[in-house]
């Protein structure tokens, strides 16, 4: 009997100890995940059904009123149009340019590194600073852009209607012009982002097996186009999915340029009134937390949806043995 007792008493419990340590190590991260990521999502969800404002002691439940406003009021219609215009313009162009630049740079070998560095600079530079620089370049009279365009006056360029009008009536106001404003913002978004995509594509390109190109050559793939479709593009599948997703999420989060150019109002006639700016204006500046939360919830849904699609696509496409 004594032997049995000792046996039982001496039985170690490594698993419990390991488990407790593990929970201890992970505790700060878990706590912060809850407090900083999960709780705010719930808070946003809850508040989107209210008319809360900071400083009020209480609030009323307004049901789906905020969401109804989002889908009926013209301001929010402009918000959706501006946001989607931006995303639908910036993502394909910056992904396409990124891919193109990556292919060119990759084919040049070491000399290409200079271009890689140059194209990556906008990614590193504070967007706000560069946006202000662009704003100045786009100044209607003393900005470099219009000044350069004006140099084409009096030459054959005037055949093109854009130049003809510009030379006569003055070139566009760019940021002050309702028709151009959102496109300028898109341009700056592409300018800032395509270098990032290029670098991602470059790292994808370097992981393509070089022998595959040789096999393609032996199989009769003569042109660069053939090689691209047979070897490069399939190999870049997961990378492309990732680049597109990241670009979309970054595009949805555009804010710096809008707020820098038009601190009040989100562009001429709200043509650049993107969602993040709307959240800022309504929620923080105007203290309309209810509607700000509703926009936040919608925003979250878009972003989560995109990321989930990306994950599904990547999981299904793993076919490299």
């Amino acid at each position: 009997m004594a032997v049995l007792d000792m046996g039982v008493a001496a039985h170690p419990k490594p698993n419990n100890h390991e488990a407790r340590t593990a929970w201890g190590l992970a505790a700060p991260a878990l706590a912060l995940m809850f407090l900083i990521l999960l709780v705010p999502v719930i808070v946003a969800g809850v508040l989107s059904f209210t008319n809360y404002s900071l400083g009020n002691s209480g609030f009323d439940w307004v049901g789906t009123q905020n969401y109804e406003r989002l889908f009926t009021r013209s301001t929010y219609e402009k918000m959706f149009i501006a946001t989607f215009t931006y995303v639908v313009t910036v993502v394909p162009i910056s992904v396409g340019l990124g891919l193109g630049a990556a292919l060119l740079v990759h084919s040049l070998g070491r000399i290409g590194d200079i271009y890689k560095t140059i194209y990556f600079l906008p990614v590193m530079a504070t967007l706000l600073a560069m946006a202000i620089a662009w704003e100045f370049m786009l100044h209607p009279t003393i900005g470099m852009v219009n000044r350069t365009l004006a140099m084409a006056c009096g030459s054959w360029f005037e055949v093109i209607p854009f130049f003809a009008n510009g030379c006569n009536d003055g070139f566009p106001l760019w940021l002050g012009d309702r028709d151009y404003a959102i496109w300028v913002v898109c341009f700056i978004g592409v300018w800032q982002g395509f270098g990032f995509n290029m670098v991602l594509f470059l790292s994808g390109l370097t992981s393509v097996h070089r022998e595959l190109y040789h096999a393609a050559e032996m199989d009769g793939a003569r042109s660069g186009w053939d090689r691209f479709w047979l070897v490069t593009w399939p190999a870049l599948g997961p990378t492309t999915v990732f680049v597109v997703t990241i670009s979309c999420i970054r595009a949805f989060q555009v804010f710096d340029t809008i707020e820098a150019f038009w601190p009040q109002g989100g562009g001429p006639n709200k043509s650049a009134y993107v969602m993040m700016f709307a959240i800022f204006e309504k929620g923080v500046q105007q203290n309309l937390i209810g509607i700000g939360s509703a926009i936040t919830v919608l925003f979250l849904i878009f972003v989560m949806f995109l990321t989930l699609i990306q994950r599904r696509l990547v999981e299904r496409k793993v076919h490299y043995g």
């Binding site: 050559e217 032996m218 399939p234 043995g321």
Partner: protein
């Protein structure tokens, strides 16, 4: 099908001279192996033939046409890569079809959706599918046609690579160490299959390998390469029995040939200080070496040519290879013995050896074979 010829090819990578003037002619339908140690330039030579690399000087001819400046895609050759290089996103059937699609369909016909409605596309697709099925049957990979390379084993992938190569009718097949990624048993099996494939197709095969057994068993001729040069190109028998260079003798044959030093003093040749009976037809030189294959040595109890102690035994079942440390000069030689002789070659036992004079190969100090020297008889027996 056509013959191949390369003339005076040189190739340099920076400071390193990889090929130092290679000339080789391959007849139509011949199976030629390029064999040699790593870094000897055999893969580079193959790639120059393929067109994937360009030589610094020299020419490449396929059939009657000189193709030195033609790109690989236009040379009508097929290649099997060491890593197989299968397209990971295509099925086996699609992989095998690629050479046909590239060559026989126009780019319009190849477009993803619209291509299918282009004139003639249907017919092309059908004939391509038939060719693919034929190739698959020949290699017995019919059931795998719908799978992707990631789902196949190494041996299966190798067959798909072969299938992709032979689905067309190229002027020649180039194979770059296709068996080196397979395990030993599979390698032996596939060796036979490739040799039979060659017989069935009657095509020209150029086969690169570092494994001399593969070269010996599969080839019509072997080209032994070292340091960027072809040392000898001949049938396996001649390479084995009548090598031009000591390096060829040492590279081919397993276990390695035994090399013993010979001195010449006046008109006498001495091995371990004892005279040999020899005859010369032509000039003579100073230091020489004698090569004796393991099977040229035999146990000699009475009046042995030299004595030694058994240092190591390798029993392979059907034959035994024993390493004997000779009393003279501390050299070791490898002896091939039959299983019946096992009791005589215990580890550490003293044995007497003799050699077959007719099988002795004489090389000069630089390694060149001296065919004019002929050993007539073995050594005078050691004084007991």
């Amino acid at each position: 099908m056509a013959g191949l010829e390369v003339t005076s090819l040189t190739k340099q990578f920076g400071e390193t001279r990889v090929l130092k003037g290679v000339t080789l002619g391959i007849a139509d339908g011949e199976f030629v192996s390029l064999v040699g140690p790593s870094g000897c330039g055999k893969s580079t030579l193959l790639r120059i033939i393929a067109g994937l690399e360009t030589a610094n000087s020299g020419t490449v001819t396929i059939g009657k046409a000189e193709v030195t400046d033609t790109r690989a895609a236009d040379r009508n050759l097929s290649m099997v890569f060491q890593s197989y290089a299968l397209y990971p996103h295509l099925t086996v059937a699609e992989n095998i079809a690629v050479p046909l699609r590239m060559r026989e369909m126009t780019s319009l016909q190849r477009l993803p959706v619209i291509g299918g409605v282009m004139p003639g596309a249907r017919h092309q697709k059908h004939s391509i599918a038939q060719s693919v099925a034929r190739a698959a049957d020949m290699l017995e990979i019919g059931p795998l046609l719908g799978r992707k390379p990631g789902q196949l084993s190494g041996g299966q992938r190798q067959r798909v690579a072969l299938g992709r190569a032979l689905v067309r009718d190229p002027a020649a097949f180039l194979l770059d160490e296709p068996l080196s990624n397979l395990d030993a048993k599979l390698r032996v099996q596939t060796r036979t299959e490739i040799a039979e494939l060659h017989r069935k197709l009657g095509a020209t095969f150029v086969y690169v390998t570092h494994d001399q057994v593969e070269a010996m068993t599969m080839s019509d001729r072997i080209a032994v390469m070292m340091d960027g040069e072809i040392l000898q190109c001949a049938t396996p028998e001649i390479i084995y029995e009548d090598p031009d260079d000591i390096r060829v003798a040492e590279f081919i044959g397993s276990p390695k040939i035994n090399i013993l030093p010979i001195e010449q003093s006046g008109a006498e040749l001495y091995l371990f200080g004892r005279p040999l009976k020899w005859r010369e037809i032509g000039e003579s030189t100073r230091a020489m070496q004698m090569g004796l294959r393991p099977e040229a040595l035999r146990l000699m109890q009475s009046a042995p040519h030299f004595k030694g102690r058994v240092a190591h035994i390798e029993n392979l079942g059907a034959e035994i290879f024993a390493q004997i440390a000779l009393n003279d000069e501390g050299l070791r030689v490898t002896l091939r013995a039959s299983p019946a002789e096992r009791p005589m070659i215990e580890l550490g036992a003293e044995v007497g050896l003799g050699f077959d004079a007719a099988a002795a190969l004489i090389f000069d100090a630089d390694g060149k074979r001296m065919r004019k020297i002929e050993i007539i008889a073995g050594l005078t027996p050691e004084v007991a």
